[in-house]
Amino acid sequence: MIDLRVEFAGLVLKNPIITASGTFGFGLEFSSFGDLKRLGGIVVKGLSLKPREGNPMPRVAETPCGMLNAIGIQNPGVEAFLRDKLPLLPWRETAIIANMYACTVPEFGELAGVLSGEEGVAALEVNVSCPNVTHGGAVFGQDPTQIRKVTEEVKKRAKGKPVIVKLSPNVTDIALCAQAAEDGGADAVSLINTLLGMAVDIRTRKPTLANVLGGLSGPAIKPVALRCVHQVCRKVSIPVIGIGGIVSAEDALEFILLGAAAVQVGTANFLRPDQSFRIIDDLPRAMIKAHSDSLGELRGSLKLP
C-alpha cells in the first residue's frame, strides 16, 4: 500500500490531488461522482465579500486541448458560502481551501478575516491573478509590490491559517511574483492560473466570448505550467502547488518531480466529472512507472542536464 499523504504549509492531505477553483463548484456538485472525502483537498469557487453575477454570456469556449473562460467570479458571496455550502462539505476529512477574490487590499483583508474564523476552512488561496475582471486581480497579479502587500494583509488576518497565493502566468517573470508572495509571508504559492487568450468566430466576425478576452486552461497549457513551476521551485523555499493541464496521474507526477508539494486538477474535471477521483486511483500505478513508491522521494528529483 503506497502512502499518498502529503504535508506542507501546515496542511496534512491524504493525497496530493486537490481540485482547482472554478472547475469543481463548491464540491457538492460532484458528490455523486466520487466520495469527496477521498480528495486531498477542494479549492472552492472564487469567493467575494458580496455576491457577484459575473460576466455576460457567452463566457466559455472550447479550444483545441483546452478551453477559454471569462466567468467573472460569479459567486453567491462569502456569507452564503459559509452558511449554505461549507456545513455540507466533509471539511473534517478533506481540506477545504477558500479561494478569495477582491479588488482592493482592504477587501482582501476583510475577506480573509471572515474566512479565517471558520473551523471548516483549512487554508486561504488568494486569487491575485484572475484576468477576467478588468479592475480586479490582474493589477495585483502583475505587480510584485502589490502581491507582497496583499499577501501581508491576508496573512495578518488569517489567524494562523495557511495562506496560498495563486499566481498568474501573464507576467514577464513569474518567479519574481512568487518571491514577492514569499516575502509577504505566504505559506505556499499555487500556479499557474489561466493564460490570457481569445477566440474568434469568423461567421459572426465577433470574439467568441462576450468579455472578448478569457483565461486559457486545459492540457494545452501544461508545458507552460511546467516551465513556470520549474522556475518558481528554483526561486522560493515555500511549498509550490502545481496547476495547469493536469488530466492524469502521470501529469501530476511531472509537477511533483519538479518539486511541487501537491497539484490542483481543473479543466480535467470537465473531461468527465469523476476524473479527479480517477487520478487519485491511478497515482500508485504511475508512481511505480516512475520507479518509486514514495512521493517524498519523487518530489524535486528532476534530473537536470
Binding site: 472554478g22 472547475t23 469543481f24 463548484g25 456538485e29 460532484f30 458528490s31 455523486s32 461522482f33 469557487k45 453575477e53 459575473g54 454570456m57 457567452p58 463566457r59 466559455v60 469556449a61 472550447e62 483545441p64 486541448c65 483546452g66 478551453m67 473562460n69 466567468i71 460569479q74 486545459g218 492540457p219 488530466v247 479543466t267 480535467a268 474535471n269 470537465f270 473531461l271 468527465r272 466529472p273 469523476d274
Partner: protein
C-alpha cells in the same frame, strides 16, 4: 423552481449500439442503457466518446430522447466538432455518459398539453409521449426545415394527435409563427411545452406571457461540465440573476427565464 441534486447520477462507459452508416447530418444515437431506472423527459445527458483523447475536453449535452430497459437514444444533428465525431461512431465504440441531468418537463395527467417542437427540439418529446400517463391529451406541433424523414416524427405521430409544418424559406416564417400562436391559443388553461432553436422559444415565450398561457421551454446552451460547476451555461432568471441552465433547467417556466 427546485434545484435538483444529482446524487444518484454516475459516470458510465457504455457501448454505441448503432450500425455503421454513411455519416449524415442527422443521427439517431443509441447506447447501452447505463443503468438508468428512470428519467424525466426533458432531462439531458453529457456524452463524450472515449477515443476522443484530449483535443475536445468537453462532453456534449443532448436531450434524452427515449430510454428502455436495454438502451438510451439521443438525436444528434451535426453542428460542430463534437457532433461530427459522434455521427461517425462505429459499433461497439465506447461512450462516456453522465446523466440524467437537469429537471425535465412537467407531465400532469389529464391536462390538455401542446408539444411545440422546432427541428431537433423534437428529441425529448419522443420519450415524453411514450411515458405520459394520458397521451390522448397531447398534441404535437412540429416545425422543421430539413426533410421530415430526418426526424423521428412519423413514429410519434402514430401515437398522438400531430401535425408538422416545414419552413422551406424564410418567407414561411410568419405563417409558421401564426400557426404556433393559434395552436397555443387553444391551450389557455392547459399546458404548452416547447423545445427548439432560441428564436422559436422566444416566440413561444412572448405569446405565452401575452396570453397568460402556462408554458415551459427547454433551453439549449454550450456546456462544459453539465453538473452546475463551471457556470458556463447560465441564463438570466425572472429576476435577472444568472442561473445555470444545466442544474436549474434546462426546462424553465416562461415567467422564470429571460431567453
Amino acid at each position: 423552481m427546485v434545484e435538483r441534486n444529482c446524487r444518484e447520477v454516475k459516470v458510465r462507459e457504455v457501448r454505441f449500439l448503432g450500425t455503421w452508416d454513411e455519416p449524415s447530418d442527422f443521427v439517431e444515437l443509441t447506447l447501452d442503457n447505463p443503468g438508468w431506472e428512470s428519467y424525466r423527459p426533458g432531462q439531458f445527458a453529457m456524452l463524450r466518446a472515449k477515443h476522443w483523447g484530449l483535443e475536445l475536453p468537453w462532453g456534449r449535452p443532448f436531450s434524452i430522447s427515449r430510454v428502455d430497459a436495454e438502451s438510451v437514444t439521443f438525436f444528434v444533428q451535426v453542428v460542430g466538432r463534437g457532433t461530427s465525431r459522434l455521427a461517425r461512431l462505429r459499433p461497439d465504440d465506447v461512450v462516456i455518459i453522465w446523466g440524467p441531468l437537469g429537471n425535465g418537463f412537467s407531465a400532469p395527467p389529464a391536462t390538455p398539453t401542446l408539444l411545440l417542437a422546432g427541428g431537433m427540439g423534437i428529441a425529448p418529446f419522443r420519450g415524453y409521449i411514450e411515458n405520459h400517463p394520458s397521451p390522448e391529451f397531447l398534441h404535437l406541433l412540429f416545425a422543421h426545415r430539413a426533410s421530415i424523414d430526418f426526424y423521428p416524427y412519423l413514429n410519434m405521430s402514430e401515437k398522438v394527435r400531430a401535425e408538422s409544418i416545414q419552413e422551406r424559406s424564410p418567407d414561411d416564417l410568419p405563417l409558421i409563427i401564426a400557426r404556433l400562436e393559434a395552436a397555443m391559443d387553444e391551450y389557455e388553461g392547459g399546458l404548452v411545452l416547447a423545445c427548439g432553436p432560441t428564436p422559436f422559444l422566444r416566440t413561444v415565450q412572448a405569446h405565452a406571457l401575452k396570453k397568460n398561457i402556462r408554458a415551459e421551454v427547454s433551453l439549449e446552451k454550450t456546456m462544459a461540465c453539465g453538473v452546475g460547476a463551471c457556470l458556463g451555461c447560465v441564463c438570466k432568471d425572472g429576476q435577472g440573476k444568472h442561473v445555470q441552465v444545466c442544474a436549474r433547467g434546462p426546462v424553465f417556466a416562461t415567467a422564470d427565464v429571460q431567453i
